[in-house]
């Protein structure tokens, strides 16, 4: 029999219930046994959380690698894994394997590839993959170029009520492009695509979701125009949600100056007006999910001329601190920001975690919301390819608990 744990003296924030008050959390038998202000159980191990926030462990809704060390340091207890693996997760057996690989430290919830080999042509066995543990379907790093294939995919997925996660960039317009068309791309001589290539893909996929009744999640919507389309579609009842990663509201196209390949992302960084529109859309709920997009890359992938470098950034260890900037600017409450990384992804993918309530899995994290630190890619537990290197931030994870086990102490 494992001793119960009592976490005392902290501020408990549970976005799912709206609870936000000083309280004690008791963990027993790997589940949350109680939240309140009674005396701690006599046999309990006491964890002092004075000055800290006690919140559900984060669910990172879209990573390219289940990097346990980086996740724990970032307060992440569950990840939704993109199908862009080697080989792609386009087969129920591969999905089943991926689902097991993180346990017990970080639970991995795989998304099945929408098409075989992620090539955008033939539908993968998404029904069987669901039985093997897939929590959704994803088109991967790229969208599906063919409207006909996308139509069939959404139509077929609707029978299983599986959410379809897409990447919104018009394939033909963005072919070969590594930057957003604009001043910086022109100056640096980088192959670029217009920002409206996103709106074209968003419009198409929303229309197809509307026609088929499928659930659509656009993993990153990064432009004002794309966000307006999502906002309007949601208002008329289309089952569409939008996600984002911190880079797209904290960094603009200016970050690529000097050919900084760590700022080579997909979709590419946008103009400042779009960057601000993203922050507004998170605050007004148009963007429901913040994810890290965690995509570790080696020096060999990144120390290349900008256009030849692989896109992607390491994000798991900075997800919380960067997201808390929305609280620090006064744009959102702490509960609302945490919701985008807990309750919202849990509901989207039908996961058990993301809540702090009696009977819920004991996945939680303790963080100091005011602790200042400086992002240092070289000091990361996982890969260090962050475009935020050197940025001062506030808010640091002090402890991560997964299934009642303390897996990280800051």
């Amino acid at each position: 029999m494992v001793r119960p744990i009592a976490i005392t003296g902290g501020r408990v924030v549970d976005p799912a219930s709206g609870f936000d008050a000083p309280a004690m959390v008791v963990i027993r038998d790997r589940v949350v046994a109680g939240i309140g202000n009674d005396a701690p159980p006599a046999d309990a191990e006491i964890i002092d959380a004075t000055g800290l926030v006690i919140a559900p462990g984060l669910i990172d809704a879209g990573v390219f690698r289940a990097d346990a060390a980086a996740c724990h340091a970032g307060g992440i207890t569950r990840v939704v894994l993109m199908p862009d693996q080697r080989p792609p997760l386009d087969d129920p057996a591969l999905v089943s394997f991926a689902q097991q690989m993180g346990k017990p430290d970080v639970w991995v919830h795989p998304l099945v590839a929408a098409t075989r080999g992620l090539e955008g042509h033939e539908l993968a066995e998404i029904g069987l993959a669901r039985e093997a543990g897939a929590v959704g379907v994803a088109t991967g790093r790229h969208g599906i170029a063919s409207a006909a294939v996308m139509h069939r995919l959404l139509s077929y997925a609707s029978a299983f009520d599986m959410v379809v996660v897409t990447h919104a960039e018009d394939a033909a317009l963005t072919a070969g492009a590594v930057a957003t068309e604009g001043d910086y791309a022109t100056r640096l001589g980088l192959p670029a695509a217009p920002a409206f290539a996103e709106a074209m893909a968003v419009a198409r996929d929303i229309r197809l979701a509307e026609a088929t009744g499928a659930r659509l999640h656009i993993r990153q919507v990064t432009t004002a125009e794309g966000l307006d389309l999502v906002r309007a579609a949601r208002a008329r009842g289309v089952r569409v949600t939008a996600g984002i990663t911190p880079a797209h509201w904290l960094l603009g196209e200016t970050a690529v100056a000097g050919f900084r390949s760590f700022a080579r992302l997909s979709p590419p960084l946008r103009a400042d007006a779009d960057r601000r529109a993203v922050a507004d859309a998170i605050a007004d709920g148009t963007i429901a999910v913040i994810a890290s997009g965690h995509d570790p890359r080696t020096q060999e992938d990144k120390r290349l001329p900008f256009a030849d470098a692989a896109p992607g950034m390491a994000g798991a260890e900075t997800l919380l601190a960067l997201s808390l900037s929305l609280v620090q600017t006064g744009a959102m409450t702490l509960g609302a920001v945490l919701r985008t990384m807990t309750d919202a992804p849990a509901r989207l993918f039908g996961l058990a975690g993301g809540v702090l309530a009696t009977g819920a899995p004991a996945d939680l994290m303790l963080f100091d919301p005011g602790a200042p630190w400086r992002i240092d890619g070289a000091a990361f537990r996982g890969a260090g390819n962050t475009p935020f290197d050197g940025l001062p931030v506030q808010g640091r994870v002090q402890m991560t608990i997964k299934g009642g086990d303390v897996v990280w102490r800051g």
């Binding site: 022109t186 290349l304 256009a307 030849d308």
Partner: protein
């Protein structure tokens, strides 16, 4: 031509406080003028019978061209040899990059041979800067992707200044494939910094949308773009960009954007015609105009190219030679 130093240099500014020449961006106007004045000296030397100097004697210059080039490579080789450097050329076909070596490994290999000067051309924008961060010697960008080709812009400016006596106040029309051109990007920045008015003339498919931010006014009607121009600079249109990709055909391009006698009549009567070469006669420029020595500066550009490169090699190696 005797020129007094720029007021900034007279006031004590270092004439060229840079380790590398990676682009025109980042240079002050007086630094550009300093390089032009230095190049002016070499024009005379190059026309004399005794062309050999000793400034770079004992130094090793590597010309690493990861993208094919004949003219620019030859120009850099001659420039280095006339200054007395030991010049070694590395072509794309001779490099280990073909064998899968990364760019930075190649850079480390070159660096280990202790060159005193690296001249680099590469097909990717930013590649030369990346190498410059990794090596211990001055690096000169001989063209990187669509980004910059600083010595081409300098030789163009030198040619214009010698023919027109000035750059300030001139109207320069740069015509053709601006989207893919590093020559255009470097020239926009250099010529606007020196006070010229720049026009970008091209079909919309070959015109970057934000060319205005580089100081150029854009035109899709060539007659209007050439109206009153003092200098017309034609750019090469690569054949793979024709045939329906960016323009429908060679003949349609020549019909609307080729430099013909009729079109050139809209420019100033003493217009100077330039082309960075190699020319596609009958595609972007009428052969007769290219050959008209009164108006065409094409061969002079090649001559100025050697002088400009000698000046850049000399200036960039002065710190290690203790020659400032």
């Amino acid at each position: 031509m005797d020129r007094s130093p720029h007021p900034a240099i007279a006031a004590g500014a270092h004439p060229f406080p840079h380790s590398h020449l990676l682009g025109i961006a980042g240079l002050q106007a007086w630094e550009m003028l300093f390089l032009l004045d230095e190049a002016e000296r070499w024009v005379g030397v190059n026309r004399s019978r005794q062309k050999h100097g000793e400034q770079l004697a004992g130094l090793t210059q590597i010309n690493a061209f990861f993208e094919n080039s004949t003219r620019t490579l030859l120009s850099f080789e001659i420039a280095g040899k006339r200054l007395g450097a030991d010049v070694v050329n590395l072509g794309a076909s001779g490099s280990s990059m073909k064998k899968g070596e990364t760019l930075l490994d190649t850079a480390s290999t070159l660096n280990a041979m202790h060159p005193d000067m690296l001249v680099i051309r590469h097909g990717s924008s930013g590649a030369v800067q990346l190498i410059a961060e990794k090596v211990d010697c001055p690096v000169l960008n001989a063209g990187d992707g669509r980004h910059e080709h600083p010595t081409q812009a300098l030789l163009d400016a030198l040619t214009i200044r010698r023919r027109k006596g000035r750059i300030e106040g001139l109207t320069v029309a740069i015509c053709g494939d601006i989207l893919h051109s590093r020559v255009a990007r470097s020239n926009f920045q250099l010529l606007t910094a020196l006070g010229a008015r720049i026009r970008a003339v091209a079909p919309p498919t070959l015109l970057p949308p934000d060319v205005g931010h580089l100081g150029a006014e854009s035109f899709t009607d060539m007659d209007k773009g050439l109206a009153g121009a003092d200098v017309v600079m034609m750019l090469r249109l690569q054949t793979e960009r024709m045939d329906g990709a960016y323009v429908p055909s060679t003949r349609e391009y020549f019909r609307f954007y080729g430099l013909t006698e009729a079109r050139l009549s809209h420019a100033a009567s003493d217009v100077l015609v330039m082309h960075p070469g190699p020319m596609n006669r009958g595609v972007e420029i009428d052969g007769a105009i290219a050959d008209d020595i009164a108006r065409s500066a094409v061969t002079e550009q090649v001559e100025m190219g050697v002088a400009v490169r000698m000046a850049c090699l000399d200036v960039l190696t002065r710190t290690r030679r203790g020659a400032w």
